[in-house]
């Protein structure tokens, strides 16, 4: 019952930041799941700030948070692309790792500029993603199995590549611009006396990626056909949609975005190393699913993914500032997420009832 609602909801919220008017007809504006997430984030920010004023410390809290959210937003988008088909990409971590290897190798041995290395990484990521998509369409095996197997294969490959072709376990190279991308915010750049906001330089990269994915799913025919493929494969095929091609394209896009996430993480952490991507799997699902993207396919929400990634980072940073121990931290992250999702569901049910009565 909820799928069509979610779908129409998602279709209209992908690109527009102004979500207030985007709730399904007959439901109040607060019925939009994105609005609920925003409220939870605002409430948590107020709670954490009142408990620890350092939560609003620009250089030590807000800037690092934006950097982390940027990485996890792109990781979430990588998963979202295949979730649109009702597929899963369990190889997101290793697609990021193999692309990071390619980028690091090019920077180290070919001394390519930063943008060219990134481009090469994106191509490698897209190629690995397309391979996953092709195997899924050619064999008909479930995406879960294919990407799980691919992830295992890539774990070994990445390790082998670093030990035989690479220089041990990482490329310590810093191409021109990488340090600035890591350390600088727009407030470091001034025109006369006017300096930019305290936003890290990598944030626009993630936002442009989100905007492009939003444009794809909201406006481009290819994106809509991907969603239709995810919604009902048979119906899509009977409607003349080249479903196999769309599946391969969605997986290729997922691979390219995983590569971008790997690049952003390497920039953030300072090296192209073999452990890039190790922590990507759970966040790749967390952001989109919290934001309202359906695991069953056919509906995506980019704005929701942005908010989902932001919510998890707010919770983690807040609990870090409150000095939770390692066991408590995980329990409370789980609890806060559960409460946030439950409240969101309660709000949605209430809104639906109200809408029905109206």
């Amino acid at each position: 019952m909820s799928a069509p609602t979610q779908e129409s909801d998602a279709m209209v919220t992908t690109a527009d930041p102004g979500v207030g008017t985007d709730a399904p007809r007959g439901l109040p504006f607060w019925a939009n799941p994105r609005f609920g997430l925003l409220v939870v984030i605002v409430v948590l920010v107020i709670v954490f700030t009142s408990l620890r004023s350092s939560f609003l410390n620009t250089s030590l809290t807000l800037v690092p948070m934006q950097q982390d959210v940027s990485v996890f937003l792109v990781v979430g988008l990588a998963q979202l692309c295949v979730l649109s088909l009702g597929h899963m990409n369990l190889a997101v971590p290793r697609m990021a790792a193999i692309s990071a290897f390619a980028m690091g190798w090019c920077y180290q041995h070919l001394s390519v500029p930063l943008w060219l290395g990134l481009l090469i990484g994106l191509v490698v990521g897209a190629a690995v993603g397309a391979l996953a998509g092709w195997i899924i369409t050619a064999t008909g095996v479930n995406s879960f199995i294919v990407t799980l197997a691919l992830d295992f294969a890539l774990v070994g490959l990445v390790s082998l590549l670093y030990s035989h072709v690479g220089d041990g376990v990482a490329f310590p190279v810093h191409p021109a611009g990488m340090t600035a991308l890591r350390n600088d915010t727009f407030s470091d750049y001034c025109a006369g006396n006017i300096c930019g906001p305290p936003v890290p330089l990598i944030v626009p990269i993630a936002l442009v990626a989100a905007l492009l994915v939003a444009v794809l799913f909201r406006l481009a025919r290819v994106g809509r056909e991907m969603l239709m493929t995810g919604s009902n494969l048979r119906a899509a095929r009977l409607s003349g949609i080249p479903t196999s091609r769309r599946i391969i394209q969605a997986h290729a896009l997922s691979g390219a975005l995983a590569a971008l996430a790997g690049f952003l993480l390497a920039v953030n952490s300072g090296a192209f190393s073999a452990d890039i991507g190790n922590s990507f799997l759970l966040p790749s699902f967390l952001g989109p699913v919290l934001g309202g993207t359906l695991l069953s396919g056919g509906a995506v929400s980019i704005l929701g993914t942005v908010l989902g990634a932001a919510l998890t980072e707010v919770i983690r940073t807040g609990l870090n500032l409150l000095n939770f121990s390692v066991q408590d931290l995980n329990i409370y992250i789980g609890l806060v997420l559960l409460v946030a999702l439950s409240l969101d569901r309660v709000r949605h049910v209430l809104a639906e009832r109200r809408g029905t009565r109206a």
Binding site: A15, R52, S54, F55, N57, S59, L60, T61, P64, M65, D68, V71, S159, Y162, S163, G168, V169, A170, P172, R182, N183, D184, F186, D188, Y189, C190, A191, C195, G196, L201, P204, L207, V208, L211, L212, A214, V215, R218, L219, A220, L265, N268, S269, G270, A271, S273, A274, D275, N278, S279, R316, T317, N320, L321, N323, F324, S325, V326, L329
Partner: protein, 353 residues
């Protein structure tokens, strides 16, 4: 038509965003960089030190008592121990920033990823925070922290392999059990073991190096059981350079009754028990107490206005081979090493006006 119009509108937004970024990045002038850490003088009572290991691990537990001892002995303003990084460099970076936001001004860090940790150190130092690399040094030849106080892992692995080879009678098949292959410290340990094996002049063969089994005790136990099942009778010695495989192999060899010489690492009660009953030949113990205690002392001195004679110097915190004869007395040797380290920092590494 509607879609085309919308596409155009969104295309304009994307172009505007890209142009804004390009303009800001190229058209503006950059503010001058902040000055590096150091120079200011802070009294010990205002020094707050955060000890941040890479994640939860038994190795770091002695840091807690050592840091409290340092707080009392040196009159520090505060100490804290935070192991919530969970072996994830991104999380460790957030933990460090959070601690800085809470007012901690000095950090003893065991970096999750030795390849990335220099960037983290540089970022902290750019915010005028003092950083020491404790327990593990950054990969490569550069250390961006004020100093690195850690076990020389290659030497420790070399000593362990030498001890195992000696116990094997100078010939036979050796197996090396260790941790995460993508950690450069593991690569150093592998190099140390290989050096000892190559010095045997071909009499000792390194049968296998098993990596990635220090995640937890269960995975180590499974790997050791598989190893003994497949090659148990060919193996003459096992050298461990990670905690979980050490505990697992000590127990498994004892249970199997195979005549394998086991050299372990660290001083877990199981391992010390094994040395006492003869099932473990030797263990190489490290000096985590010295790392935390002396690390805290040096950080306090640096906050007080002292400077490092050689910034980023690597100091070996010591490793000791423990066998049956010295199992009861090795701690005295370790305490003496800690005292010596303090004297060395005062006389060799620190320059105080």
């Amino acid at each position: 038509m509607r879609i085309t119009r919308s596409l155009r509108r969104h295309g304009v937004i994307v172009t505007a965003a890209v142009l804004t970024v390009a303009l800001v990045a190229t058209g503006c002038t950059k503010k001058s960089d902040q000055s590096a850490a150091g120079g200011q003088s802070v009294s010990p009572a205002k020094v707050k030190i955060a000890y941040v290991p890479g994640g939860p691990h038994p190795y770091f537990q002695p840091w807690k008592t050592a840091m409290n001892q340092a707080k009392t002995d040196f009159g520090l303003g505060g100490v804290t121990f935070n192991e919530t990084s969970g072996w994830d460099q991104t999380k460790q970076n957030s933990v460090l920033q959070s601690l800085a936001a809470q007012g901690y001004n000095a950090f003893g860090v065991f970096g999750v990823s030795p390849d990335n940790i220099n960037s983290t150190f540089q970022q902290l130092e750019s915010k005028k925070l003092m950083v020491a690399s404790l327990g593990s040094c950054p990969a490569g030849n550069t250390d961006s922290a004020a100093f690195c106080l850690a076990t020389d892992v290659e030497t420790a692995a070399y000593k362990a392999a030498q001890t195992a080879i000696q116990a094997m009678g100078g010939s036979g098949n050796l197996v090396h059990l260790t941790g995460n292959k993508t950690d450069s410290n593991t690569q150093r340990r592998i190099a140390g073991v290989k050096r000892a094996v190559s010095e045997s002049g071909g009499k000792v063969k390194l049968l296998q190096t098993v990596t990635d089994i220090d995640v937890d005790l269960q995975s180590a136990q499974k790997a050791v059981a598989d190893l003994l099942g497949a090659k148990g009778k060919q193996i003459n010695g096992i050298v461990n350079t990670a905690y979980n495989p050490a505990v697992a192999s000590a127990a498994a060899v004892k249970k199997s009754g195979l005549p394998i010489k086991v050299v372990a690492i660290d001083d877990d009660p199981t391992i010390l028990g094994g040395i006492k009953d003869g099932s473990v030949t030797a263990t190489v113990v490290q000096n985590p107490v010295g790392q935390a205690y002396i690390g805290g002392y040096a950080l306090m001195k640096l906050e007080g206005g002292c400077t490092m004679n050689t910034p980023g110097v690597i100091v070996d915190s010591g490793s000791f081979v423990v066998t049956k004869p010295n199992v009861a007395t090795y701690d005295a040797q370790r305490q003496a090493q800690t005292k010596q380290l303090k004297a060395d920092f005062d006389s060799k590494y620190l320059s105080c006006k």
